[in-house]
């Protein structure tokens, strides 16, 4: 009986986490490069009760549920045409490499909404430099247009019509991208679970090709999230009913003696 109370409480806690995860997914439905997450549950420890007559029979009573993992689905989001020459999307599994400063810790992102800083370097919305083969990519001051090829070659057309080579963009590939650590601000860090990145130029080594003027939308599927939300909310409600029943039954037991 007391087991029932705690099992139901564990169910409520688990569904709460599911609602938390789903609400974060829905909140980020319009965040470029965002990847949806899902909570995986598992049952917990089972107690064995010995049957009176036949010790070979099984009586197992479980103790509820715990979250096993929060998993990120690294499927591609839809590409949206923005027409902005500094919006880049990866058609493939590669990640952009970004860092604060030329020698800072390298982080990874799928969000390709870049801009320029005061000295012409390509930066993310929060000021991290976009890294090419030779560090940050700097656009010369007289540039009128920037071109990023599907192979990651970044060039600028100057006022006088000449083409200036800015650098070569590179993408990182992970053996297990779902194991990356999300750091907020659309960036990820490598972990032992994700494995070490292999750096490739676009269109080599399976890194995918770049699409200039496109942004990768989040891969959140609203219908799936809403169905998940309904399911989690109802499961929460069900477990609360069990708490109520267990409570009432304890009350009945307490009322044996008036």
């Amino acid at each position: 009986m007391i087991r029932a109370l705690w099992s139901a409480a564990s169910g409520m806690g688990a569904q709460q986490l599911a609602v938390d995860t789903i609400s974060n997914n829905i909140a980020n439905v319009n965040t470029p490069g965002f990847k949806t997450s899902r909570v995986d549950f598992q049952d917990v420890f089972y107690a064995f009760l010995r049957p009176v007559d036949d010790p070979d029979d099984l009586i197992q009573v479980g103790h509820g549920v715990v979250p096993a993992a929060v998993r990120r689905a690294m499927t591609a989001g839809n590409l949206e045409s923005t027409g902005n020459e500094l919006d880049l999307a990866v058609e493939g599994k590669g990640f952009f490499r970004v860092s604060y400063g030329a020698t800072g810790l390298v982080e990874y992102t799928r969000s390709g909404a870049f801009g320029l800083d005061h000295s012409g370097r390509l930066v993310t919305a929060d000021g991290r430099y976009l890294l090419g083969a030779g560090g940050p990519l700097t656009v010369p001051s007289g540039a009128v247009a920037i071109n990023v090829g599907p192979d990651g070659r970044v060039t600028a057309r100057l006022e006088n019509g000449s083409i200036s080579n800015i650098g070569q963009l590179q993408l990182a590939l992970f053996p297990n991208p779902a194991g990356l650590e999300a750091r907020g601000e659309n960036v990820y860090r490598a972990t032992t679970s994700s494995g070490q990145p292999a750096v490739h130029s676009p269109m080599t080594g399976g890194a995918g090709r770049l699409a200039q003027g496109f942004l990768e939308r989040s891969n959140v599927q609203l219908i799936d999230e809403i169905v998940g939300l309904i399911s989690a909310q109802r499961a929460y409600e069900l477990n609360s009913k069990v708490v109520q029943s267990a409570d009432e039954m304890l009350g009945i037991a307490n009322n044996l003696r008036r």
């Binding site: 029932a4 007559d53 009573v61 549920v65 096993a68 044996l256």
Partner: protein, 249 residues
């Protein structure tokens, strides 16, 4: 009379453990691959009641049983509904087959097909145990993984391993160990390879717990518990009256 108090108490105890089982089923209503537990109750053995009078003759009155107890629980092997997740590492097992898992305690089995990659690129379960292929754990070296309906794991289009799918003579004899793991017992028999088994890629099998069934069971439990309490109380009151008047019956 006193016997009846224990009979009613055994009913209350039995219903309370049934609620424990329902609570665990409902807590796992969203746990993929979870199999609901069913409980079996049994009546205490019958006693023969006889009339003894002064003539020293015993006249049988009839049989009486004095309560019920929880006799066995077993996982119900019905399949749960499939959810299409689109995740390349999700598999739903079709039919009564299981994935083999390597754990520190030995080989275990699971229905939870939400696989992922471990730290060294090994294919593991949601709880982090390596999934066994027919030739041992499966190593995934690239992000391009596909699991075929026959259990073949393709990495970059090449065969990296084949999921080991097993079945049991009596799968209701499997013991649950938590973390979605099941262990073989003497009753279930050893795991046997299931060569023709199929799975549905990019799908998850959800829990086979049916909320309606569990809610109805919970109402039944509540009311049975209440009825037993009333029975106990009625006897308590009758006893009290008997004590007050100095005569029983």
């Amino acid at each position: 009379m006193i016997r009846g108090i224990y009979t009613a108490a055994s009913g209350m105890i039995g219903e309370a453990s049934r609620l424990d089982i329902i609570a665990n089923n409902l807590a796992n209503v969203n746990t993929p691959g979870f199999r609901r537990d069913a409980a079996l109750y049994r009546s205490f053995p019958d006693l023969l009641i006889s009339l003894r009078d002064s003539s020293a003759m015993t006249v049988p009155i009839g049989a009486i049983a004095t309560g019920a107890y929880l006799d066995a629980t077993f996982p119900v092997p019905a399949s749960g509904p499939l959810q299409r997740t689109g995740n390349a590492l999700d598999v739903a097992l079709l039919g009564d087959v299981y994935l083999a898992v390597d754990t520190p305690a030995g080989e275990r089995y699971t229905r939870h097909g939400g696989l992922k990659l471990g730290s060294s690129g090994m294919l593991v379960t949601a709880s982090g145990h390596p999934v066994l292929g027919t030739t041992g754990p499966i190593q995934v070296t690239s992000a391009d993984v596909e699991i075929e309906p026959d259990g073949a794991v393709m990495v970059d289009g090449a065969l990296a391993g084949r999921l080991m799918l097993v079945r049991f003579d009596d799968s209701s004899g499997l013991v649950k160990e938590g973390q979605n793991l099941l262990a073989a017992t003497e009753r279930s028999g050893p795991a046997v390879l299931a060569p023709g088994a199929r799975l549905e890629p990019r799908c998850l099998e959800l829990s086979n717990v049916d909320p309606v069934r569990e809610m109805v069971a919970m109402i039944t439990v509540m009311r049975a518990y209440e009825a037993n309490q009333q029975a106990l109380r009625a006897q308590d009151e009758a006893l009290q009256r008997g004590i007050a008047t100095g005569s029983l019956g």
